[in-house]
């Protein structure tokens, strides 16, 4: 067989596929894929709606022409497909390199949608439908690459259901068994769920290849008035400043740690709203700021003597920082991509020791301590990627730390205290009396804090001028993370150990489906960074050792329930509810529908009677009802009378001559035509059906015959 013959054989149209369910399921799968792309911003709403409408029209056309395919149609569709490819290549011609997946995905979604819409006009056979079904996966994949939250699961479930029904129908069509059995579909669904779950559990978590161009974009780009200044968001220009106060607390972003000074005297109540999502190689503290200068109640950032606090790095994304980690060895590369869900300040969150920042700004500002700020504020939808070299020494390495030490200026800067703290120093020395290394001292102090203090945010603000550490350690020993971590930092400074206060977010809950850390507002945190010679700044979180103070179950449950309600995706939920409601209505309508031709005829005659204003009664026979209908609307010579239809139906129901196939269909069609034939009754005053004297139907309420009731028997 020559190549040409092989090509012809491969393109030979298969036998026409008659399964409607298979076509509907296939169309549904593609439509869900298009909708998913639209939901993830890959397609505009207009394009998505138009594409879905065209898909439905195309499949309907294909179904009607399945046995008589148009020979010229393939050529037209091929031209359209070539145009779609041309448009795709034109769209990506300006994209820098094939590694920039983010820039390719949009045109790719348009291309796949075009191909599917074009193909939908020529799907006569099973093989063509299978192509559509398989092609819907590509649309789902493009959408999935952009999906960041669990609401995408609605589309996945809908697509899986369509694919399941479609494949089941395909087997039904192959085997001639017709519609797939519910038990088979359930078994298939269970297999899918188990294998997918096993896949998610067994497969290693996705990681971002360092060869790719990392995603970055700015939502609500607003330039900062004063370069390097810390300002609020595009939507609320002063959010960090007024985020929380003693008198007014807000939820999202209501954290004082993202301001110029960190005031430890007060803390806002933080909600469950997701602030941003992070795709990272490993969980870590996402650092926003570090503070070195402590005045007794607030932390501030101060530049080392003789150095500018902020210097600009320009040149465009990616920005090379080459941060001084302080570690002698190279760290482990950690790529973190931040997807902002809520507007935030112009801080660039990062893991320790940032090397590179992918951010579409003119420039970024970095201080000597590694804090990073952008020159624009960031709104919802902002995306940036940070590449860090994280040094994570083992406890043994920390215990034997030695090597690169801080210079005297910085040593003095990170051990400086506003006053001697004699009582704190005595306490710290007593706690660390048996500790010989820096790590042992830090751990001893953390354990003491865990044993002797309690965590709570439900405390009044400290009075002005009060020292946070003394109030916390020698007062009621109840406080929040800023007070606990500050106490540790001050105790360590009294021992001559270089420390600084850090604020940012803890990793937050990890979502194994999206492979993202979902950082919520309440994950805002403060902790301590301790300098270890040779290992650099290392994070210590004393709050993790501190138990909660008197948790309230009712408040906790209520808070959680409210948070869960907030997280429910509204649009997908409404769509699913509508689909379920429509399905239930259809099922109910189908279950109430007459199951036999005689029942259908009986129902039609009753509708005809009601249409003509004739009263019906359960005690009246079908024949008598038909006689009244004939009297009300006499049949023409060409039309079967209601009496004849009723007689056939009664013969079928009670005479042992059950109608089947075309005869039954014709009888039911005649009965339904009869309904349309009966003229509508003109409603007059008085009760329905109570016509004038002599009008047919007046005696309907008193059927005198003992024939079979119309409604109860024929059904």
């Amino acid at each position: 067989m020559s190549v040409l013959q092989r090509i012809k054989a491969a393109n030979k149209p298969g036998p026409p596929e008659h399964s409607v369910l298979l076509r509907v399921a296939s169309t549904g799968a593609v439509a869900v894929g298009v909708a998913a792309c639209a939901a993830e911003g890959e397609l505009s709403l207009v394009v998505a709606v138009g594409s879905i409408a065209a898909l439905c029209a195309g499949n309907l056309f294909s179904y009607r022409r399945r046995s008589r395919p148009l020979p010229w149609l393939k050529a037209v569709l091929a031209v359209v497909a070539v145009l779609a490819f041309w448009r795709f290549f034109f769209a990506i011609s300006g994209v820098r390199g094939v590694t920039n997946l983010g820039a390719v995905e949009g045109p790719l979604a348009v291309l796949f949608t075009w191909i599917q819409v074009t193909h939908s006009f020529d799907v006569p056979s099973r093989r063509d439908i299978a192509f559509s079904l398989a092609g819907s996966v590509t649309l789902m994949a493009v959408a999935a690459a952009q999906a960041l939250d669990m609401s995408f699961g609605i589309y996945v479930v809908a697509w899986a259901a369509c694919a399941l029904v479609g494949l089941g129908s395909m087997w039904g069509s192959i085997s001639g068994a017709g519609r797939p059995r519910a038990r088979t579909l359930l078994a298939g669904a269970a297999t899918l769920a188990v294998v997918a779950l096993v896949g998610i559990v067994v497969l290693p978590a996705p990681s971002v290849s360092s060869r790719l161009v990392f995603p970055s974009s700015i939502g609500g780009d607003v330039s900062i008035a004063s370069p390097s200044a810390l300002e609020g968001t595009a939507q609320g220009a002063t959010l960090p400043v007024h985020a929380a106060s003693a008198t007014g607390r807000v939820d999202v972003g209501g954290y004082l740690g993202f301001a110029g000074p960190l005031d430890t005297a007060v803390r806002g109540t933080l909600g469950n709203q997701v602030v941003f999502r992070v795709r990272a190689d490993r969980p870590t503290f996402w650092v926003a700021e570090t503070f070195d200068e402590w005045d007794g109640q607030s932390w501030t950032e101060a530049a080392p003597e003789g150095k500018a606090q902020w210097h600009e790095i320009s040149g465009g994304s990616p920005f090379e920082l080459g941060a001084e980690s302080g570690a002698d060895g190279a760290g482990t590369q950690d790529i973190q991509t931040f997807y902002l869900v809520q507007p935030g300040p112009n801080l660039i969150f990062h893991a320790e020791s940032t090397d590179q920042v992918w951010f579409p700004a003119r420039g970024i500002y970095v201080d000597p301590d590694g804090n990073i700020r952008s020159d624009t504020s960031m709104g919802t939808g902002s995306i940036y990627t940070v590449v860090s070299s994280v040094v994570t020494p083992t406890p043994a390495e920390l215990a034997g730390a030695g090597g690169h030490t801080l210079d005297p200026v910085n040593q003095a800067r990170f051990t400086e205290l506003p006053h001697p703290y004699p009582e704190v120093a005595v306490l710290a020395r007593r706690i660390t009396a048996h500790a010989t290394t820096t790590e042992a001292k830090v751990l001893a102090l953390e354990q003491w804090l865990g044993a002797h203090t309690r965590y709570t945010t439900d405390i009044p603000p400290l009075p002005k001028g009060a020292d946070t550490v003394e109030e916390f350690l020698f007062g009621n020993r109840r406080g929040y993370c800023e007070q606990i971590s500050t106490s540790l930092a001050v105790m360590l400074r009294t021992l001559g150990i270089a420390t600084r206060e850090a604020t940012g977010y803890v990793p937050g809950p990890y979502n194994p489906i999206t492979d993202l850390y979902e950082v919520q507002a309440k994950d805002a945190h403060a902790w301590v960074q301790v300098w270890f010679p040779g290992d650099g700044w290392q994070n210590f979180d004393p709050t993790a050792y501190v138990p909660l103070a008197n948790p309230s179950p009712a408040v906790t449950l209520g808070h959680d329930a409210l948070g869960a309600l907030h997280r429910v995706p509204v649009v997908p939920t409404v769509v699913v509810a509508a689909v379920v409601a429509a399905g239930l209505l259809a099922w109910r309508r189908r279950s109430l529908a007459p199951s036999t031709p005689a029942g259908a005829v009986s129902a039609a005659l009753e509708r005809a009677a009601r249409r003509g204003g004739l009263e019906t009664s359960a005690a009246e026979s079908l024949a008598r009802l038909a006689a009244r209908i004939d009297a009300h609307a006499p049949p023409t010579a060409e039309e079967p009378s209601a009496g004849a239809i009723a007689a056939a139906a009664e013969e079928s129901a009670f005479g042992g001559r059950e109608l089947a196939g075309a005869l039954a269909d014709r009888l039911v069609d005649d009965a339904r035509a009869l309904v349309r034939r009966v003229p509508r009754r003109r409603w007059t005053r008085g009760r329905p059906g109570a016509g004038r004297a002599g009008q047919p139907g007046l005696d309907a309420a008193n059927p005198s015959s003992n024939e079979a009731p119309a409604t109860s028997r024929a059904r």
Partner: protein, 304 residues
């Protein structure tokens, strides 16, 4: 007899399995390096479809059950027959021994064609049952041996008549003598089935009513000779089938000139010598014939 089944085996599995593995590995690689959890989860779902589509038919095939509802009892070798089977699930079925065309039937009764190629009784059929449930992505099959509802007797294909027998002078004489016999002459002997040419008045109505077929009175003339065909099969293999075919061809040639013909065969219960009147009788007898200890095939005709 309960159907004896083998283990399910995939049919032409290399292509679908290799294709699926390559696709899933490629998907996993892209998903892993894209860093997108949803792409990976979608890949897990696809893996579910692949596992259910490629492995599910193994379970479906293992659970397939089949029995023969009814089958014809007689046929001729090489002629297609259809037997009615009942299955518990939709499947593709193909008779393997004896062979037949593959056909797809749903759950419940269905007709399966098969073509017996060997003469003799057929008590069981080997089927290849295949299923691609639940998705139709890959076929798995197994072989089962199913007992027929009734034995199917397969007559030989009529072969060329033994010219030597037909050309034998004695036999030719017998043929000449045994044109449709004139039963009016001779001593009454009994009744026999009607054959074309018998006078209408010879119909024996009581015997006809008793037998359910038209019977005529038969007279016996001393000089009347009935040709006797003795069939000795060399074996029950292909040589025996060929010999039986030639015997049938010869018998039909004899019957065309004279009826009845005495046919001597060996059946399972022993030797049997009995007159055959029609082609059907002849085919039935030769379907039941088995080999005689004599090893060389002999077809003899002699005057009786």
């Amino acid at each position: 007899m309960r159907p004896r089944g083998g283990l399910p085996r995939p049919t032409k599995a290399a292509g679908p399995i290799a294709g699926s593995v390559v696709a899933l590995v490629a998907w996993a690689a892209v998903a892993h390096n894209s860093g997108s959890g949803w792409v990976q989860a979608l890949g897990g779902l696809l893996a579910g479809f692949v596992v259910a589509g490629l492995g599910g038919p193994a379970f479906a095939t293992a659970r397939l059950k089949i029995s023969v509802v009814t089958n014809p009892t007689e046929t001729t070798a090489g002629q297609p027959v259809a037997i009615v089977v009942a299955t518990n699930a939709p499947l593709r079925i193909e008779a393997v021994v004896p062979s037949g065309e593959a056909t797809t039937i749903g759950a419940g009764p269905g007709r399966v064609p098969l073509v017996p190629t060997r003469r003799g009784p057929l008590y069981q059929v080997t089927f290849k049952l295949a299923s691609a449930a639940p998705f139709g992505l890959l076929w798995w099959h197994k072989r089962v041996v199913v007992a027929l509802a009734r034995p199917l007797w397969v007559a030989p294909v009529p072969g060329p008549p033994e010219l030597a027998v037909l050309g034998d002078s004695a036999a030719q004489a017998a043929l000449d003598l045994h044109r449709p016999r004139d039963a009016r002459v001779g001593e009454p002997r009994g009744v026999r089935p009607y054959v074309a040419g018998d006078p209408r008045r010879l119909v024996h109505w009581p015997a006809t009513a008793h037998r359910g077929e038209l019977m005529v009175r038969e007279a016996e003339r001393p000089e009347a000779a009935v040709p006797e065909l003795r069939v000795i099969l060399p074996d029950d293999g292909p040589d025996g089938d060929a010999a039986a075919g030639r015997a049938l061809g010869t018998l039909l040639a004899l019957l065309a000139h004279s009826s009845p013909v005495m046919l001597a065969t060996t059946e399972r219960d022993g030797p049997r010598t009995e007159a055959v009147y029609t082609k059907t009788d002849a085919a039935r007898r030769l379907a039941r014939a088995v080999a005689h200890p004599v090893t060389h095939p002999v077809v003899q005709a002699e005057r009786r």
